[in-house]
Subunit: 341 residues, 2 copies
């Protein structure tokens, strides 16, 4: 039976939401896998005692130290060996667990995953991607979203290759399509790094490793013509955080505009409520919780990171994502493709 | 009297919209300045003949060649010396005109402005910025938005200095505030270029050239805590184009959601119309036409570039922007500040 290690201390709503999400995952999956919940016993055990966990494949492991959102990644990994983060990843390393899941400090998880698990054969730099809404059916991933600065052309190409494998084997996309984010569509646009990346992506396309459609621009991201947007971590991180701020920004403009119509008597309360529903439904494609979290691609093990704001539903879906990554053998495929010449 | 050279051939709606916008600018300003409209006589003169231009400070200049949106900038500048672009900028160089305004090929205008007008003393790289909507009152500019790739730290600092001068003298902002776009707020985040830029921006702050609040992230752009967002041209261009695609993306989600409520009888036609008004009003802060266009900062002359989709209203506002740049002596201030050690 598969075992998934879950960081009970990670995220703004930990440990309560993590405990709830874990129990939901075990119930919904009918105990298809087992979970080791890791964290401080004085925080976790009283909460666990309030829940009905009888018959669940759930055990608890004490970890006295905690990595916080404020911890500096490289330092946290070295000085907090008794944290849920390091203990959880070590369970994966020794094969006592098959995957690790956390909604904690992303930088620290990246550093610890690299340190404890190492890289898959052939991988230059592990990476992290994000989901984006799109007009067309399907899904769009952007890679890298902050793990890698100053990417070299060969890094960008590996990001495209790893995400292509992920989408093919674990996301049910038969033909992932890669676009290189640039300032214009024509070949020869952009920085030297982008010009060289363009050529290397063409090579990878010719070898059948990816399907590359060329340069794309900022306005192409939401269109959905590509399933994989490749860029440096600074660009991806900025677009991701900018995108996340849009629903709140528009909400702040929407509410007073609607209120004006209500108080002037042009719209009655019922219509205003329906209008608010329409407004909210517009942002359903922005709901990233259905994916829960994303794996670090390229590390020699499965380490799934979630948003700090993760709800119990997000935690549950992250656990399912972990199970999925294990079963679809994404890492085996990555190692195969990236160690080829 | 000031003279403004207007490219009659630039933009998707040229020459009709350009002619209309020019006439509106002269009428509204009560002939405060004069305009030289430059373009192909067989295209322009028949349209001008349909308009009532009596008493307007308007003259026409024939330019047989046209720079198109498809032209490669560096080549267009060299091979199309008889275009409205090159002829208009040459009028500025010989002081027959005080500014040049166009909604044509931005890259070609940048190249031609540099080639014909040159740089202001002390300027390493001229730049181009964009306007962004914000929650707080005031305005936010992002610089650079595509003119400069692979920026060095000293380039980013000059962008901040030039835009600070522009906002102080021409945009009525007493205290422009600069933020450096990065992947995290803490000092020491990001690439080597960003780390060095951070230090140089602190130096410029200490010298009183700018007011620097430190690193900002993608979700800070719409907040309005800074009036100047500094980044490399690739990041700025991507954010700009991504932002421009949002109203259309949400519109495509909004319409069917609203239609569903109407056809199910939950919302009547009148309420649906009002709701659509609310939706549209949400995007008023995204209306960049009120600014018309932006000047290339750092060139030794005034060259204003507008969006390819510019309407006659945008052209009119670009002409007013040109007048404003001349009167506020923005270039004199830039040369003063940037030639200091």
């Amino acid at each position: 039976m598969l075992t998934i290690a879950v960081d009970a201390m990670g995220g703004d709503n930990a440990p309560a939401c993590v405990i709830e999400g874990t129990i939901q995952a075990l119930r919904e999956s009918d105990n298809r896998f087992s979970v080791v919940l890791i964290g401080q016993s004085d925080k976790i055990e009283p909460l666990l005692a309030l829940q009905d966990t009888e018959g669940l494949n759930l055990r608890f492991m004490h970890a006295p130290e905690v990595v916080t959102m404020e911890d500096i990644p490289a330092i946290a990994v070295k000085t907090k060996q008794e944290s849920s983060l390091v203990k959880g990843l070590k369970l994966c390393k020794t094969k006592e667990a098959d995957a690790y899941v956390s909604a904690g400090n992303t930088g620290a998880q990246m550093a610890a995953s690299l340190f404890v698990l190492g890289r898959l054969p052939g991988v230059l730099r592990p990476t992290i991607y994000a989901y984006f809404p799109r007009l067309k059916e399907g899904l769009t991933n952007i890679v890298d979203v902050g793990a890698n600065m100053d990417c070299k052309p060969e890094h960008l190409v590996q990001f495209a290759e790893m995400l292509t494998i992920y989408q093919r084997f674990a996301a049910g996309i038969d033909e992932p399509v890669v676009g290189l984010l640039n300032i214009g569509e024509e070949e020869g646009k952009g920085s030297e790094v982008l010009k060289q990346a363009y050529k290397l992506l063409q090579d990878a396309d010719r070898k059948g490793k990816i399907s590359f459609i060329g340069n794309i621009e900022g306005h192409d991201i939401l269109k959905g013509n590509v399933s994989i947007v490749v860029c440096d971590g600074l660009v991806g991180n900025t677009i991701l955080k900018f995108g996340e701020s849009i629903p709140g920004f528009l909400g702040a403009l929407f509410k007073p505009a609607l209120q004006k119509l209500v108080s002037s008597g042009q719209l009655d309360e019922k219509a205003a409520m329906l209008t608010t529903q329409v407004f909210k439904s517009m942002f359903e494609p922005f709901d990233v919780e259905k994916f829960g979290g994303v794996p670090f691609l390229g590390v020699d093990g499965i380490s799934i990171v979630g948003h700090g704001r993760s709800s119990s539903r997000a935690i549950k879906n992250m656990i399912f994502m972990a199970e999925h990554m294990i079963e679809k053998k994404v890492n085996t495929h990555i190692a195969e493709v990236l160690s080829e010449a």
